[in-house]
Amino acid sequence: MATTIERPAAGERADAATRQPRLPGQGRHTLSRLALYALLSVFGVIAAVPFVWMILGSFKTGAELRQTPPTFWPQDPTLANYETILSDPDLPLALFYRNSLFVAVTVVIATLFTSSLLGYVFAKYEFRGRQPLFWFVLATMMIPAQVTMIPAYLILVQLGLLNNLWGLVLPSFVDAFGIFLMRQFMFSIPDDEIWSARVDGASEWRIYRSVVLPQLKPALATLGMLTFMFHWNAYLWPLIVLTEQDKRTLPIILTWYETQHTAQPNLVMAASVLMVIPVLIVFGLSQRWIVRGLTLTGTK
């Protein structure tokens, strides 16, 4: 631990490549590096085990999962669980995927539009009350969902939007976090570009569309992915609004399916895997943006 370290004389190139001060390879140091990788790998395995165990479980037979003590690797891997679920008449997965997709995609489109527009106005226009209004927007992020959910439910009842997917998405069209994120990104767009567009006679909407939006692509991608994930995984609000089975979204269907099949964990595991896959794909496509978006603001 208490190794004193000299500045590396050689190895400047490695420095530049990894952003790390690469230190000369003395024996002691290599050993502590090995220990570091070993420790991190152990933590990584611990973090991954429940996930991996569930995925492996989805390829096991019901009989194998009822064995005690349980197995880790499938003894007799099978795709039967997936076949059963995908052909289950009580579980029209395509319908529930469609419901979930409708909710997530609608909210993503609306949020991207309103957030970029409002973020733009808050970042690039001067008007009276701008600062207090922006603080008001930020303050709404602190409101627990449990406070607004009872009145919001009563509003939906009055509007006749209970058991309606629109009732699910309607309260999410303006997102304080999105406005905040967009406003932050807006600072990288020079005022001069906006002003020269104005001088050229472009309307304000035209400037938003042709000058601002194209430069926001990374921000839009980040916010889009985060919003998609949030609404794909949402549970509490859909649980309240959607009481009819065929209107429900995947997380609620998953818990329902679990209570129906407590004796068949193999099926529940396969169902869980099926419902995680879209998010994994979305994450794979957008990993660097998401990490950047999270780190920029750090909002949960």
Binding site: L36, Q146, P151, D192
Partner: protein, 334 residues
């Protein structure tokens, strides 16, 4: 840029004359619908929730004239709030459950926070010090649970903690050679240093899902510390630990505060894990405030009471938010 010929905005605006009206119109057209929307879906519900807390509103009652207020739903004033302070053993069930819920929520939040920091901070420092390729790999592994819905997390941990066929009992059985069948989430008598094991199970699941998130934030903060600062300390003879303790840690302070408050606020509102993993059981040992509000409002149809409890939750979160805005103003203002 074609900016060479253009002066500062203020002068230019006068020069552009009529353009200022167009800008003002644009701001008005963009802002007014958005603010109206936020009023309907955020301000109105809050005001309404506070108002509902003064009524004995139950949606089971027929013919509620105006959304739970008036006539059939009597005004009870501060009655709900007074009842919250009834600590006698004859207090109604919902009051005793409220007391339990406050206790569970505070216990959960104040256990989750230090544990979270104690895990994520060293882990982030370790990940930050490995090579880039490995960094991405580790970060991804720890981030996977963040992507999984809380419902998925709850179900995964349900499998791990299952008394008969769960992974955890299976491992204990293997290691000890004796069949073990501990009911981690359903045995009310299982208590570890005064904390119900069922609650600990939820804390573990929550941490498992949450550490990846804080990890990413910490790694980014660590990366923003210039290497030259740390190198200077090393040249001066500081050990790795001393560098971390006296250089890195103080520079991380704003991030630690940010992560602390965000984690605290979100841990007050966790619902999915509590409902799916234990549904408040055993014996209300894991009945968190969010679950209590949901059950009161939508299962027992005591919406007035639930609204009052939600106002209490709001006040708890608000207090923490005020602390947050005090500490984090610098982070938010650009």
């Amino acid at each position: 840029m074609a900016s060479a010929t253009i002066e500062r905005p203020r002068g230019r605006r006068r020069w552009l004359g009529g353009r200022e009206g167009a800008q003002r119109r644009f701001v008005a057209v963009v802002l007014s619908p958005a603010l109206a929307y936020m009023a309907v879906f955020l301000l109105l519900p809050i005001a309404w929730a506070i108002l509902l807390a003064f009524f004995d509103f139950s949606s089971r009652r027929t013919g509620s004239p105006f959304l739970g207020l008036g006539l059939d739903n009597p005004y009870v004033g501060l009655e709900h709030f007074k009842r919250m302070f009834d600590f006698s053993s004859t207090a109604p069930l919902e009051v005793r459950q409220f007391h339990t819920a406050v206790k569970v929520t505070l216990l959960f939040a104040f256990l989750v926070l230090p544990l979270n920091l104690a895990i994520t901070l060293p882990l982030a420092a370790m990940i930050e010090s490995v090579r880039d390729r490995w960094k991405v790999l580790y970060r991804t592994v720890f981030f996977l649970p963040v992507l999984t819905s809380a419902v998925g997390v709850a179900i995964i941990w349900g499998f791990v903690l299952n008394p008969q066929r769960g992974l955890l009992n299976g491992m204990i059985t293997r290691l000890t050679g004796r069949f073990t069948s501990i009911a981690w989430t359903t045995d009310a008598d299982l208590v570890f240093v005064g904390i119900p094991v069922a609650l600990i199970a939820i804390i573990v699941a929550y941490l498992w899902q949450d550490i990846g998130y804080n990890l990413v934030i910490f790694i980014a903060a660590l990366q923003s510390i210039p290497d030259s600062v740390k190198d200077a300390a090393r040249v001066d003879g500081a050990s790795t630990w001393q560098t971390f303790r006296y250089i890195t840690l103080p520079l991380l302070k704003p991030t630690i505060l940010l992560v602390s408050v965000l984690t605290m606020i979100s841990s007050f509102q966790v619902f999915d894990l509590f409902q799916v993993m234990t549904n408040g059981g055993p014996d209300d040992q894991t009945r968190a405030l969010s679950l209590d509000i949901y059950e009161s409002a939508f299962r027992y149809q005591r919406m007035g009471w639930a609204a009052a409890v939600s106002v209490v939750l709001f006040l708890l979160v608000l207090t923490i938010s005020l602390v947050q805005s005090r500490f984090l103003k610098a982070n938010w203002e650009y």
